[in-house]
Symmetry: C2
Subunit: 408 residues, 2 copies
Amino acid sequence: MYSLLDNFRVVEGASFIAAPSCTLHLAQMGAEVIRFDHVRGGPDYGRWPCTDDGVSLYWEGLNKGKKSIAIDLGRPQGRELAVQLATAPGEGRGMFVTNYPVGGFLSHDNLAKHRADMITVRVMGWADGSTAFDYTVNAGIGYPLLTGPPSLGDAPVNHVLPAWDLLAGSHAAMALVSAERHRQTSGAGQEILVPLGDVGLSTLGNLGHVAEASVLGQQRDRLGNDLYGAFGRDFQAADGRRVMICAITARQWNSLLEALRVVDKVNAVQDELGVSFERDEGLRFDHRDRLMPIIADAVAQHSSTQLARVLDEQNVCWEPYRSMREAVAEKCQPDPHNDHALFRNVEHPSGHTYPTPGTSFMAMGMQRQTPLRAPRLGEHTDEVLAQVLGMAGHEIGRLHDDGVVAGA
Amino acid sequence: MYSLLDNFRVVEGASFIAAPSCTLHLAQMGAEVIRFDHVRGGPDYGRWPCTDDGVSLYWEGLNKGKKSIAIDLGRPQGRELAVQLATAPGEGRGMFVTNYPVGGFLSHDNLAKHRADMITVRVMGWADGSTAFDYTVNAGIGYPLLTGPPSLGDAPVNHVLPAWDLLAGSHAAMALVSAERHRQTSGAGQEILVPLGDVGLSTLGNLGHVAEASVLGQQRDRLGNDLYGAFGRDFQAADGRRVMICAITARQWNSLLEALRVVDKVNAVQDELGVSFERDEGLRFDHRDRLMPIIADAVAQHSSTQLARVLDEQNVCWEPYRSMREAVAEKCQPDPHNDHALFRNVEHPSGHTYPTPGTSFMAMGMQRQTPLRAPRLGEHTDEVLAQVLGMAGHEIGRLHDDGVVAGA
């Protein structure tokens, strides 16, 4: 984490991936993030994967570096506390991130009654208010029918990565920081709605899919692992190990042919067809039925070790397919000799110490701080009530006695 | 688009998806974005999909609302112009987004010689500087071997959505706005590196995959379309139409059973196993071999129209699988009666008018402006030279005459 967002406090009332990942980004950029949860934990508190003791490793991953206050949200007094936290006064405060329903006690209108310049960021399903999760948005916008080999016919392939949740989280963070910047000069608050559906549909527009359907009246075929519009696919080395190779620029294409010593074979195809694959990556896609076998044969003549050597010598853009366990073992380990390393070993509330990432980016002129662990549920209840709401010890004690709040 | 980012100018020297999508977000939030390209266009200028005339619909989608200046970057004078643009003085300026190599004339160190408080955001491949694209990062971190039906054995399934590019773009935008906020008080510039690889690997950490492998010594099986750790999958209606249904919360689970009238059948399974599916979504996953057939049978007894009615009546979380063409027809059309609608019809440089999205989020208190079209290559060359670099007409004319710049 880095100290980029000074004097920036966000209150979170949320669960699952999208909204919690928004505030995770903010926390790792130096913001103070206070997450409130129901006293028994929100609906994501036991989400898989879990340890044998039932501690959610998912929750631990998504709530790193946040403060946790546990409130009985079923009671009016608890709800009032949540509203007070979100709307507490001061510069760089008054920001709330949620996936609670648009109406109700955490509506922007209700919060804005307590603080006129409130910034509320609400992740939701479809823009019209109907329910959606990442998995249903993905089904509804077309990618599952384009994913996977054509042999699957019309059977959809869901993605495993919750891409729309993650994109919604980072879009929400980007919007919130921008809205706070705007508030600094205008004094104006904002209600910002981030529908997962609009994250998906705007992506279809930004990547040209909407134009493709509207202008060309077409959509892509199910291409398996072939890269659309350029050269790329999975190949198999002599020992069965699979690699992804792609060549988008002219340099990458030439490097690949050099590395695999297939320049002559490809030239023969070019001469026959009267085209230049170097100058137009689209032609490499159009004629992939001619090019793929040449590359596949050459790859299959190398062991994966030999292949790695010849491809790296020519700076070809490639990567071995790794299982997730291999990826964790090879790519997610701390490096004590690198101040900017992504992972450090951190002990978490589950009692386990494991490699833990900070921000996805490096701020080269700042010190990269060790990522903070997730809180235990309610670990900061008393601290938050005292520091944010200015409550005295006996008041906090009474809230505990009355069961309105709980500690860790 | 919205006017959130006032007095915020970013210069872009980039291509493909990640960095251009970063500045697309910024432009749609009101920033002034000036993209420079080589006089014949960058390596993404002809990227598919293209119109019959060879205009890239992909480029049009990713560069909406930006200004374009075309420069001969192969010549020292052209390179100097690019540096001058990126480092031009003034508050809310001095921000550069790129995917050019770390070294060379657009290095942060070189830019910082011209402007000490420069903020440079550089999207790259792996953090160690080695080349990677979205497709190779994805291969390297494990998702392709978890995606798709188990019948595929150990064959990888690449994603079609360039999720790592898109996430890198929004992470870069979030980091840039945060760095500019920091500069406002500290006066300090930043060099920010956003490796696609670290975007992927940090995601593995945030979602619990690293902990899963490190603590539990395990990774997920290839689950096909089954939702990990809860209830969800694709099902097929009587008319063959497929739907995604999921139930994560207790309410969603109960709604699904009510809608499909299978409460009794599920209760019988609960009684037999001595468990409560309502209270623990993990049990729904553990016993999915018992639950899935019940739901699948019930779904198969409905036509897709009937199914939609009974599921919607109970607010079940579901969605029909759509082809991308269906998604564009049903979900991407402008709605003149909704001021906050995502899509509006915009005429683009290709000459085609088609539905065009603005920001993925809605700022409810601001006016949503019509999305701007992408520029023609070099459309703003003269305007940018005059306004940003203060050049006189005869100086600009000489640059044209010398072939250092080009217009549209």
